[in-house]
Symmetry: C2
Subunit: 164 residues, 2 copies
């Protein structure tokens, strides 16, 4: 049995979801979204993201982490902003000694829905089907659970990062 | 007297420089570059950056930190990569409770050389003139010292971030 935290990085809302995987079985543990204070300077928002993810790792004691690999972003400025949040999402579990898997958005959708071009609503519906006890209000949390599910399917493959 | 760490974020080479500022006087303390292991996965490279910056804060006990605000980057992919390193450079001092100033590249050059369009060689020459005891081999370390000097000049202004 492996416990996985999936993280959907964002500076306004950072989705997270924890699942357990044993063989072909998946079990929902928890999910939600971290909301760094938008009125604060960037450094403090990023620090809040670090503190939030650290607290989740403390609370749920996942064995491994998974983060979405790239963003479809419209411009350099957006990529820079998303990159900053993503840097924290990747580094925080690694600092805590967790192996971190990175997965492309298409692979995450394919793992959950069966096609790499699924809509958000399809991803949410499949996450609900795969994790019947999951309770989420936002698509950020559903996306984070999808990332964790993708990692459960692919963690032994090449995309899996060597143990820290 | 205030002790300042300037950080020039980068995933291959992250320049850093520590100075002291008292009134109009500047004093060089130390500088160098962190080189996260390039052969490692991204999460571990970012974690190494966090660990490296944390160790510098521990060793040199700066009161405040300063980071360059934006990058002139040729594309979305580069911006995403730089953003990840920059997220760590901004968050690590904030996590340690240091106020973090962010300064645009043009303002840094203007503070050190007198013009916002200075070449790297001019910045290095002026850093040597302003900090005669400074010893640096790389432009990353010189850039980091320039960022710290800019912060010394502007720390009481609007760009200064509120104390954590």
């Amino acid at each position: 049995m492996v416990r996985i935290i999936g993280i959907d990085p964002g500076l306004r809302r950072c989705g997270w979801g924890v699942i357990e995987s044993e063989g072909n079985r998946l079990r929902y543990v928890a999910c939600g979204a971290i909301r760094p204070p938008v009125e604060q300077p960037l450094a403090l928002r990023l620090a809040a993201l670090f503190t939030g993810i650290s607290a989740l790792i403390e609370q749920y004691a996942p064995d491994e982490a998974a983060v979405e690999e790239t963003f479809v972003s419209p411009g350099v400025r957006t990529a820079l902003h998303l990159g900053q949040a993503r840097g924290i999402a990747l580094a925080t579990p690694a600092i805590r000694g967790l192996p971190v898997g990175e997965y492309a958005a298409n692979l995450i959708k394919k793992s959950v829905v069966g096609t790499g071009h699924a809509e958000k609503a399809q991803v949410q519906a499949m996450v609900r089907a795969l994790l019947p006890t999951a309770s989420f209000e936002s698509h950020d949390a559903a996306d984070a659970l999808a990332i964790a599910i993708c990692h459960a399917h692919h963690r032994n493959h090449a995309l899996m990062v060597a143990r820290a």
